[in-house]
Symmetry: C2
Amino acid sequence: MEKLSIPKGTRDFGQIESFRRKYIIEKIQSNFIKYGFAPIETPTMEHLSVLTGKYGDEGEQLIFKVLNSGDYLKKIKSEDYNKDAKTLLPKIAEKGLRYDLTVPFARHVVMNQHNITFPFKRYQIQPVWRADRPQRGRYREFYQCDADIIGTRSEWNEIELTLLMHDVFKSLNFSDFEIKINHREVLFAMAAAAGLKGKEIPFCTSLDKIDKIGIEKVLHEINLIKGKVEIVSKYLEIITSSVDQSLKIKELVALTGSSNKGFEELISFFKILDEIPDRNFKISLDFSLARGLSYYTGMIYEVKPTKVKIGSICGGGRYDNLTGMFGLKGISGIGISFGLDRIYDVLTESNLFPKTSNGSPKVLITHLDPTAFIHGINLIEKIRRAGIPSDLFPDSIKIQKQMNYANKLAIPYVITIGSDEISKARYPLKNMSSGKTLTLPIEEIIETLKTNQR
Amino acid sequence: MEKLSIPKGTRDFGQIESFRRKYIIEKIQSNFIKYGFAPIETPTMEHLSVLTGKYGDEGEQLIFKVLNSGDYLKKIKSEDYNKDAKTLLPKIAEKGLRYDLTVPFARHVVMNQHNITFPFKRYQIQPVWRADRPQRGRYREFYQCDADIIGTRSEWNEIELTLLMHDVFKSLNFSDFEIKINHREVLFAMAAAAGLKGKEIPFCTSLDKIDKIGIEKVLHEINLIKGKVEIVSKYLEIITSSVDQSLKIKELVALTGSSNKGFEELISFFKILDEIPDRNFKISLDFSLARGLSYYTGMIYEVKPTKVKIGSICGGGRYDNLTGMFGLKGISGIGISFGLDRIYDVLTESNLFPKTSNGSPKVLITHLDPTAFIHGINLIEKIRRAGIPSDLFPDSIKIQKQMNYANKLAIPYVITIGSDEISKARYPLKNMSSGKTLTLPIEEIIETLKTNQR
């Protein structure tokens, strides 16, 4: 038999990893709910016609395609046999695994537009798949945790998602992050000033790489796409300078020739934030932030850890025409996506997972002989009826082996039953970390377990 | 643009459906945790070498295959072009979507055998995919909620899973079900007595259809596979009779010639159940129950609704050699699987979903003018800091339209802010179902919302 394995870039999660993933999801989800988002779910598979043309050529190649079921060759004719993989594809595969949650969301909104009440606030926490080259923080199957507000252009949306981001990370006890924001219209105005109207996407893509490749190489790329290098050079000078945010905005307005909606919205955004008390905002303008996705039209934002190197752990932005890709025009929206898998990696490196629980039951009943085991059935019934995660060791084996089991699983409490305990109806409850034992009737054991966190 | 759709047999879930699905999952999961099961997760895709040979020919055809990424034709040579779909498959697809959670679980246990502490109690709640013909209660993407105990042969396991089944349905307020149990060794003894040694699978498959096709047709099928019809006929007479369970067992022992482990385990099972107080067990022997899966070797069980016609909503059994399929022999286990999607359908038809919540926020803040909106930002901050799911209507539009929004989403409470409310710092909290309004300071509103379920 060949060695067992799982597909490249995918992962098995054991008890502790799954428990911790659920912990993160629960925190994100409860914040989504607190902010008034309602859940939806979409299918894992979408028609390829829904997915294609949405992610650019590069993204499109990363979509996992699902072979048609049954005789998948039935649409192939003999003259097709010399064709290439791309040409044959539509004949043998009509479905793909979702690449993100945004395009399925847009598809869902358009399909259900007559049943949805707008503004529509939805959240969605599901895995997505990309046939990307696996590397640190990049997996082929990973979870996105998305919240979107669609059907309103209110400035409050941008504020609300900013508050949400802070609340999510606060609830995870994570504070070593910064939120960078920018505005697509500012980027577009810059592109125009640099003579790159119509070439906004390559302009933004180059700019976005400034941290990775440096100013010189960015300017080189701008030159290659025939942009005005001297203007972009001034632009880079401003955005990498350490002057305060309002001054930066003024200098950029001067450079691009006039203000626009982008600048105005950024100014207004910070003004509203200033009025919200008791908040320690970790947010700053970053005029080089571009984000790859082509559907953003307004404010964009990204969250990066400041101490752990892993790329962005959350991001999103305003889109004025997301559902336009499926024919429903004129609906503005704004979204945010938390990357569960990277957040997991960051919390692990930052040692921020709670130490009080690991997914094991709170108490294990062990027993000295088969009669004690039968007695244990009654006790475990009572403990479980009280809702306490608990277990009865299933086999009549040496007590030391049963205790080893409790230790290996880091079960915090152990009860041991023998004939003496049965006759007195009092049982020793051992705290496995302190080593202390209390001998109590079952009702008091239940009370103790209920009130003690650990 | 062609009409938008989702793949056949898959579903979109809107707010209410998703909320209710999460409600069921939460109940099942909290019972799993109460019974000491720990979570694991496995990848959506598995190597086809892991999935093949496990589900029979029929099952195997239902596995969704994922096309290799990049140039999937690169392993195809020109002489392959006249080959059929099945022969070409291994060259173009190496991965498939998981068909159930049991085989991936077995693969996980074997791969991680040195890190797992046995007995291993795991639960897993994830979707699975089957390219089956969609029909009532049968979908191409559906959730399984599995709990397994592996590495022990204790009789307690069977009892524990029986208690768990009762607890799960009780927590869902669902009581119109029955649990049928049988034992594979009883079936095998019957097959031997009927001259069908080595043909146990077709024997069991026929027997399992007795409710659907009737005694006559079952006997016809037995005749076709050369079984002793007169013995099977007596067998069917006993199992469809209304005598009590212990008498049935006695008659079957007589018919098969001798008792065996199967009969003994069933007798012992009911004996232990009898000793557990305050339980209203809905469980009975059904000697025609076979369950299709080939890996069960001991007790098997299935839960069926008694009033809603939809097939089984839960099932499982004891397997003595599950991990043997991946080379790890001699590890006994027992498992159970709850079918989320069918349970959803049953609860819907039985009108058993809680009426107090639908996933909408608990309160909406509406506002009469832009100043009131800005004031609302401070109020929503306070309400959310108290952890209450809540929303501030994002646009400054007519109050009636804002109220319509609250009504459509069935939001239970609405606060309306105008200049008068701002100056007095007291706000009208309207209960949308009773129509009653209380005018209170924000702190008292928060207290009211916290204490009122609806």
